[in-house]
Amino acid sequence: MFLEVKNLYKEFGGVVANAGISFGLEKGEIVGLIGPNGAGKTTLFNCIAGYYKPTSGKVLFKDKDITGWPAHRTARAGIGRTFQIIRMMERLTVEENVMVGAFCRINDREAARRDAQEILELVNLEEEANAHPTELPIATQKRIELARALAIEPELLTLDEIASGLNPLETIQIIDTLRGIHKEKNLTLLLTEHVMEFIMRISERIIVMAAGRKIAEGSPEEVARKEEVIKAYLGEKYAKGK
């Protein structure tokens, strides 16, 4: 198993955000993680990437126990991430933002700059290299987040709502970009999203969460037909009517 989450619990005071989540990813998979607001998706992401310490349970990455590792260590181990709320280094240029990511592997500045330029080309941002990120539209900033995460050369890339706030055209464009990167870099992708159009199109497999638990798992078509999923999204009434 490439990534394995075993019976993961995360509690904040009395609130249980993740209650015994277990799932696994194979190398090269694209897996979507969906669920209504407050289902615990972002918490789960933060537990995997080391921003939170799980209350109990285990996270194994390439058979290594990385439970509770701090974020910079998981990044160096090969887990890249983007943030639900955009986090730019606003006093650095777009290129420098990506360079900081490249510095994770490279010590030489000019080598890091060349790397950053290549990655910016990959996500179609070469024109914006010298702009400051906060001057740019949201869709572009999301791409910068993606470029920056790619710059550490992750093996597993976790994308937290990369398509939220994008219009339909931008969503299709980012799907294309992600597919291209997935193929070229042999990445494993784990995504969360509210935009069903996006997640259903890109994912090979979908995990559904509700109220901190995993309630379903399967191919996009299977999951969309499951009663528990409809119940979680639309309520009892609609599930029974079906």
Binding site: P70, M89, F103
Partner: protein, 342 residues
Amino acid sequence: MVGKMKAVVGILKDTFSFNDLPLSERIAFAAFLVFVFFFPWIVHASYPRVVMIRFLLFAMYGLGWNLIGGYGGQVDLGQAKNVGFGAFATALMITWWGVPFWITVPVGIIVAVAESFAVAYPMFRLRGHYFAIATLCVALVWQKLFLFWDWTGGARGVEIPIKSAPNFTYMQFGTIGYHYFIFALFMAEFLFMNWFRKSKMSYELQAVRDNEAAAASLGINVTWTKVKTYLITAAMGAVGGSFYAVYHLYIDPRCVMQLDLSILIAMTAMVGGAGSIWGPILGAAILIPLDMYLGALLGGKGFYGIDFIIYALIIMVIAAREPRGIWGIIERARRRGYVLRG
């Protein structure tokens, strides 16, 4: 072996190269260096020479502070403690044992870095204002300790024995000698900063300043990055303190460990422009003459304290209108195209 050679060449190139800066800035800085170099020949009056030395000293303090405060974004209001460690290491070792100045400097650095390392981890658990308050408190504690301790001279301070002739072992000479001495130290720190601003560490530090969570997601150890920087800043403060001791030949905890000093050091960088290489130099060029001329002029006429009011006004205007200081104003104007690009 070849790789190592290449790395060394790269470091040297980064230290001495200003090619990434606009031509206008390079010309202005070259003119500034020529001016400072010939200053003692142009100006023969002693007071302006003293002002010049103080300016260079504070520009140097500011360059050091700019690391943690400007590039790192951590407002440190306790740099005076490091100046004090350097000054006391030098003054005490020369007075007690006659140790040459150049040996006391590394000792001062070691003391400042060791103390800073000891307090850094608990302090960097704090952020923003709370961090600033913690640095201020630590510096005050050290000042009080040095005031009460007898073995450091207490409140009476330390007087360094004066040599009869100019002396390179203890670095005692006339004003012109001190001018070139501090100019050399200033240049050393400036060149270090010129290397630093282009280094990997500088990018990582700025990433931490702008967004800690994002920096961590890129494999940067946020706390260690801050601690490292804090230690370099401490070392640079200690060097300034060592100079201060042999320049004044008398120190006490009220002049080298005072809160005013910490604040003035932070102000030079912040008024000039924190996080830019020119900021501390600009800030010192404005604040030090203002302090020394306005204070003397108005104080002489009985208007005590007016200089402090003007001081405070400048700080308030900078803080409210342009937090990136004078350099921020210049850069903004340049982006609008008022100033020609180099």
